[in-house]
């Protein structure tokens, strides 16, 4: 009965697990214990014939140490229970049965065998927990000497998972060659902030052009809100633009006295920005060869129709203007995202 219980369910488990156990320990332990004949008599329903006896015994050799762990005192039984709790239920369930039935005759040997069994169970403990994770969950096998409790295993797994994903992130972020985890995280955070800022600025720039166009056309006297009239408004001769700019300057000067932020916002709403004079001179020299030609933009409201026309002129007039002691001046431009906008200003 013991065979039938143990062999089919545990053959898959125990055989493979037994092979990883230390064979010598088990064999020594088994041969040290004398209970072979008594176990056979109590558990086997009919005593097997002598030739088969060896085979069943061989099988039982595999099974015996495991069952004998159970069949001893409760202390060992509980430790063995803990040992085999990691295995699947089908594997562990048959062990309960022999414990109840075999507890009696094994008792007298329990005392003598306790010492070696405890050592054996200790050795099998680490072996068992080393094996059980690899069988029940495909995890990294615990090395001897390291803590094998599930908490640290889970902890280590979590760390590995995080490291793996960080590596995937590293390729995305530019400048991802930093090996230090802390600086890598800083880079990632900065990059996310930068991208979000880009979205914000881009949405503002599309808006800025539209606001500028609508304000121009309203100054020109009556806007119909359509693209063509907006473009026409944008193509006004320079006189209007100069007046508009003077008004804007006064407005900005007024705002700057109270709060820089509101002044910036007002400017941005008009599609203008504040920049140092040195930068303005640089831009004007860059655009000086292109500013004279103006192609009427038939674009949509999202564009900046007359920015190219006015940029050169206003930059020149602005150069001589000092709004405050900082040396800042107003200039055309819808956003300050570096090179791209400067290039778009200089488009013919």
């Amino acid at each position: 009965m013991l065979d039938s219980l143990l062999t089919p369910s545990t053959s898959s488990h125990m055989q493979t697990s037994a092979t990883t156990f230390d064979h010598k320990d088990f064999l020594n332990h088994i041969f040290a214990s004398a209970p072979w004949p008594s176990v056979d008599e109590t558990h086997a329903p009919q005593p097997p014939p002598s030739d088969v006896f060896v085979d069943s015994r061989n099988q039982q050799i595999m099974m015996m140490p495991l069952s004998s762990h159970h069949q001893n005192d409760n202390v060992d039984g509980s430790s063995a229970h803990a040992l085999y709790s990691g295995f699947s239920a089908t594997g562990s369930r048959p062990f309960h049965i022999p414990q109840g039935s075999g507890g009696g005759p094994m008792h007298q040997q329990g005392q003598t065998q306790r010492q070696p069994q405890q050592q054996a169970s200790a050795s099998t403990d680490t072996g068992g927990t080393a094996v059980s994770p690899s069988q029940s969950r495909t995890k990294v096998r615990a090395r001897r000497g390291q803590a094998t409790d599930p908490h640290s295993i889970a902890e280590r797994l979590r760390r590995e998972r995080i490291a793996e994903r960080m590596k995937a992130l590293q390729e995305l972020v530019p400048n991802g060659n930093k090996t230090d985890k802390a600086s890598m995280l800083d880079e990632i955070i900065d990059y996310v902030k930068f991208l979000q800022l880009q979205v914000k600025v881009l949405s503002m720039s599309r808006l800025g052009g539209a606001a500028y166009v609508s304000s121009q056309s309203s100054e020109a006297g009556g806007s119909h809100g359509s693209a063509s009239s907006a473009v026409a408004g944008g193509n006004q001769p320079t006189g209007n633009s100069n007046d508009g700019l003077t008004m804007t300057e006064h407005q900005v000067a007024k705002l700057m006295e109270e709060d820089m932020g509101s002044a910036m916002q007002y400017l941005q709403g008009k599609g203008l920005c504040l920049m140092p004079i040195s930068l303005a001179t640089a831009i004007s020299t860059a655009t000086s060869h292109t500013r004279n030609s103006l192609i009427p933009g038939a674009g949509d409201v999202g564009g900046r129709p007359s920015s190219s026309n006015l940029s050169g002129k206003t930059v020149q007039t602005m150069n001589t203007l000092k709004l405050n002691s900082n040396g800042n001046c107003m200039a055309e431009g819808s956003s300050s995202i570096a090179v791209k906008e400067a290039v778009s200003i200089s488009k013919p």
């Binding site: 979590r158 990632i188 999202g302």
Partner: protein
């Protein structure tokens, strides 16, 4: 690795998906009263920005990603729209917040906190999942930026 995770999938849809959603949201905005006076430019900026984020969330796979759900939820809250999500999210959020509170002792978790504040819906995720979502979020953001830049370039006059 022996962790038996399925391979991390961080593919985002192509640019045209993002472009389509963004243009749709823009045309929706235009149908509303978009040509306001310049004094309200801030509102317009905010509206466009929100439209950009919402269209990005929709383009990037609707409700299949945690951060997109959080974005849509945040947007819908402002407009008092009722958004239908599965109930499970709330419970997960609560549990995650509780377990995350325990962690800040570890140094890495402090930095994860900063990332959580940036990525929408970050407070409801464990660190490993957070990093995965961040990767996807970065890809989507860069795609959205490319789309918007192309639009600006294409529509600005030469």
């Amino acid at each position: 690795m022996a962790s038996a995770d399925k391979p991390i999938n961080t593919d985002v849809p192509e640019k045209d998906v993002f472009a389509l959603h963004f243009l749709q949201s823009l045309s929706n905005l235009r149908r509303q009263n978009t040509f306001n006076s310049p004094e309200k430019t801030n509102d317009r900026v905010k509206k466009i920005k929100k439209a950009a984020y919402v269209s990005m969330a929709r383009a990037a796979g609707g409700t299949s990603r945690l951060w997109s759900r959080a974005l849509l939820r945040r947007a819908a809250k402002e407009t008092n729209k009722v958004v239908r999500f599965s109930r499970r999210k709330k419970r997960v959020t609560w549990l995650r917040r509780r377990s995350n509170r325990r962690d800040p002792v570890e140094e890495e978790e402090k930095e994860a906190e900063r990332l959580r504040n940036l990525v929408p819906g970050g407070g409801a995720m464990e660190t490993s999942k957070l990093i995965e979502e961040t990767a996807y979020y970065i890809k989507c953001l860069s795609m959205q930026v490319k789309v918007m830049q192309c639009l600006v370039d294409g529509l600005s006059p030469k």
